[in-house]
Every structure is written in structure tokens, then in C-alpha cells.
């Protein structure tokens, strides 16, 4: 397995490779440069967030070729909409990850016939295990794993199926055999707990 260096704690570290972006420039500053059409800054942004983007997209989309295509679309969108990034509204990683996840989810939902969808739902247990494994196989991910561990089982399953599986809360409810209303409150409570545990709150 390739070791992935882009973890949440490293995103503010420079990893520029001969780009114009001076070392130490943070992601938000890079995005400001991207908004002005700076290709080198865009590549520096790519170097820092490509792994979370691709990993997230792949966990939802699964198909490798389609994952690459969606990842490409995500970065074109980052390029296109960089001027809309607003640091007051959230971190640069949250902005990019939100674009990536939504793109991935929208793509699978638009592509899947309902029959295929049902089949996918049936194999969701496998998807969940894969994700758990992915989360575990790197020390950088320990913190997220540990915080997921502080959630109740239902919260954790609801969050994991929704985020990594790309399921709607109604689908998650059906998969877990609990009422939809319960699932959406668990998702919210689970995410809040995760946010607090990770110190990611604002």
C-alpha cells in the first residue's frame, strides 16, 4: 500500500515541488492565487488535497475509472470556483471535500438504476468493511478512527454508510432497519460528536 502523507494535520504544510507558491503558504492563500488564474498555485493545491479528494470519491463511486473522472471534475470545479471560496465560512479542506463528496454522490445517484441501487445496497456490508480497513491501515488516520470509536454503533454506522457509502439517510435507515427519523438525528448527533472529538468545530 502506498503510504499517504496528506492527513488532516499535514494540510497546512507546504509540499510544493518547484511551483511558484512560496513554502509556508497555506491552502487558503493558495486558493486565493488560484482564483487569479495561477496554475502553479493550482498544482500546489492539487498536491495537497488530491489524496483526500480521490480517496473520498473512490469510496463512494468505487469504479476506478469513474473515480478518476469524478476527481478530475472536482478539480476543474476547484479551479473554476476558487474565487468563491470564503475562509470565513469554513476551511479550505472542508470546501474542497464538500465539492468532492457531493460530486461523487450526485454521480452515483444519477447513474444508478434503481435495480442496481438495490443490488448495491445488498452489498453494503462489504463496502463498510472496506472502508473500515482503509481507515485503519494508516497511522495518520488513527485519530479519525479513534473518534469514530466514541460514537454509538448506530451513529457510527449511519455516518459511515452516508459518508463513505454515499447513501441517503432513507437508504441508511432501510439498511439498518431503523426509522428514517432516528437515522437523521443519529447522523447529526454522530457528526457533532465527531467534530468535537476531532477539535474540528468552529
Amino acid at each position: 500500500m502506498t503510504s499517504v502523507e496528506t492527513g488532516p494535520d499535514r494540510l497546512s504544510l507546504p509540499r510544493s515541488r518547484g511551483t511558484a507558491a512560496p513554502p509556508g503558504v497555506d491552502l487558503a492563500a493558495l486558493l486565493a492565487l488560484v482564483a487569479k488564474g495561477d496554475q502553479a498555485a493550482f498544482e500546489a493545491v492539487y498536491d495537497r488535497v488530491a489524496a483526500p479528494v480521490f480517496g473520498t470519491v473512490r469510496s463512494v463511486v468505487r469504479d476506478p475509472a469513474l473515480s478518476e473522472e469524478v476527481t478530475q471534475e472536482v478539480f476543474v470545479e476547484v479551479w473554476r470556483a476558487a474565487s468563491r471560496f470564503d475562509e470565513c465560512k469554513g476551511s479550505p479542506l472542508a470546501w474542497v471535500a464538500t465539492i468532492a463528496h457531493r460530486r461523487a454522490v450526485d454521480r452515483v445517484r444519477s447513474e444508478q438504476r434503481s435495480a442496481e441501487r438495490d443490488r448495491r445496497a445488498a452489498s453494503s456490508v462489504i463496502a463498510y468493511d472496506d472502508v473500515a480497513e482503509t481507515v485503519e491501515d494508516n497511522l495518520d488516520r488513527e485519530r479519525v478512527r479513534r473518534c469514530l470509536g466514541t460514537l454509538t454503533d448506530l451513529q457510527r454506522e449511519a455516518v459511515t454508510l452516508a459518508y463513505y457509502g454515499g447513501y441517503t439517510y432513507r437508504e441508511v435507515a432501510r439498511l439498518l432497519g431503523v426509522p428514517a427519523g432516528t437515522v437523521n438525528t443519529r447522523m447529526r448527533d454522530g457528526l457533532i460528536r465527531l467534530r468535537d472529538c476531532l477539535g474540528a468545530g468552529r
Binding site: W79, T168, M187, I192, R195
Partner: protein, 258 residues
């Protein structure tokens, strides 16, 4: 099965894109009025960003090369200016979509023989040039270029043109065999930065988002590939908020039976 939950309880599901259709639209309406919810969603997005980071996996190196080319030809959005609100792309008009025209051809060719507007030909040529230009790369064609090439050379390729209600001409090259279509347009009405054009596959059931149109370059928009085509689908086009929506929220500017 579809109870209507309190919008506020949906913040978690919304932050994880776990709301479908109506629920998402409803929550977004609520979000626009509820400052507290917007703050909460922003906080939850910081948590989901960590979930994303935890799933990190390196994409193939070739992707960066492809993006270099792609960004070079993609116009960027200007910054949003607070308080400025351009007129929405809605006008009083007829209910029926503007005139559309289709050309069916048996041969695996995208070049129209007759009856096409100059703009349409230019768009079609643009698609082909784009597909050719993006095909030969050291790492092989991108998935998108491959998908476009597959449509253009499909045995059942069909080309259609239609006028967009608010101005401009759309060209659609479609293959049911490939279950995909390539959309391009010329002369679309410019939109304020807060909005974009979004394509839809309008089926007997749900309307499925089929992609956001990029900013035009020299008056030409696209090509964009939409896949997952099913028989009986129509193609729709609406104006949506810049990030796109899950379901159309404004009226169709184009409806084209496929």
C-alpha cells in the same frame, strides 16, 4: 415512507449529502433563512473534511497532467460581489420548449449532412476537435475523452439541435448504445456568477442531474458528457445556483426527447 422531518434535524444528513431530492431542496430553502443552521452545517463540514482526509488515497499521477490541460481551457468564475444580484434567467414566455430539430444518421459519423445551423456545425466540430485534441496523451486518453469518442463513433449515433429558450443553440450527440450523450452549446445567455446551467436527464421517475455546464469559451460551452441514459429520457436544461442542485428548481429552458 416519506415522513417530513423537521428541517433542522437534517443538518447532519445534509452535511453528508445524504438528502435526496425534495429533502435537499427543502433543507437548502431552510438554510438560506437560518443563520444558525448555516453555522452548524459549516461546523459539520469540518468534521466530514476529516472523514475525507481519513480516506485519502493517491490518484494516478496522470490525472495531474490531464488537469493541467483542462484548467488551461476552463474559464474561472469571477468573485461573487455581495449585494449584486443579476436578473434571473427567467422570462415570461411560452410553455413549450423552443423549436428543436434532430438529424438521425446510420453511419458512425458526427458530421451533419444537411439542415444544420452554422452554430450547430461549429459546435459539432468543436466537440470533434476537443475529442481529438484530448485523445493522444502519453498516459492514454482521459476517461472523459474516451467516453466522448465512444459516443461520437457509436453505431447508433444521433445528433440533435435545439434552441435554448433564453438564447443560444444546443447540440446533442447521443448514443443509446453507449447510454451517453455529449452536450455542447453556442451563444448561451451569460449568467451571473452565482448561477450556472445544469443539465438533467428527465425520466419517467426522477429528474437526474446530468452535469453542470462549464463557463463558455469564445461563446462555446462544453462539450459535456452525460451518461446513464435510459430509454424514454429527455434532456433538460435549467439555471441553478453555481454549485448545482439535485433537482431542477427553475423552469426548463430546453426539453429534448432523446
Amino acid at each position: 415512507m416519506s415522513g417530513r422531518p423537521e428541517p433542522h434535524t437534517l443538518a447532519g444528513a445534509y452535511a453528508m449529502d445524504a438528502l435526496d431530492g425534495r429533502d435537499r431542496a427543502r433543507f437548502e430553502r431552510h438554510l438560506a433563512r437560518c443563520r444558525e443552521c448555516a453555522r452548524e452545517v459549516a461546523g459539520l463540514h469540518e468534521a466530514t473534511a476529516r472523514l475525507a482526509a481519513a480516506a485519502a488515497a493517491q490518484p494516478p499521477p496522470a490525472l495531474k497532467e490531464l488537469l493541467r490541460a483542462e484548467t488551461a481551457r476552463t474559464r474561472q468564475l469571477p468573485p461573487a460581489i455581495a449585494g449584486s444580484r443579476a436578473a434571473p434567467a427567467r422570462r415570461p414566455g411560452r410553455a413549450a420548449p423552443a423549436g428543436s430539430r434532430r438529424t438521425r444518421t446510420r453511419r458512425p459519423a458526427w458530421v451533419p449532412r444537411l439542415g444544420l445551423t452554422l452554430a450547430g456545425i461549429a459546435v459539432a466540430a468543436g466537440i470533434a476537435v476537443w475529442a481529438v485534441a484530448s485523445a493522444p496523451r502519453p498516459s492514454g486518453p482521459s476517461p472523459r475523452a474516451r467516453a466522448i469518442a465512444a459516443v461520437l463513433t457509436a453505431p447508433d449515433v444521433t445528433m440533435m439541435h435545439a434552441r435554448v429558450r433564453t438564447g443560444g443553440t444546443a447540440t446533442v450527440v447521443m448514443s443509446h448504445h453507449e447510454r451517453s450523450l455529449v452536450f455542447a452549446a453556442a451563444g448561451l445567455r451569460a449568467l451571473p456568477a452565482s448561477q450556472c446551467y445544469e443539465l438533467w436527464l428527465v425520466g419517467p421517475g426522477l429528474d437526474r442531474p446530468a452535469g453542470l455546464l462549464p463557463m463558455p469559451s469564445h461563446g462555446m460551452t462544453g462539450p459535456v458528457i452525460a451518461s446513464g441514459l435510459r430509454s424514454g429520457d429527455k434532456l433538460g436544461l435549467t439555471v441553478e445556483p453555481a454549485m448545482g442542485t439535485r433537482h431542477p428548481t427553475t423552469r426548463m429552458l430546453l426539453v429534448l426527447a432523446l
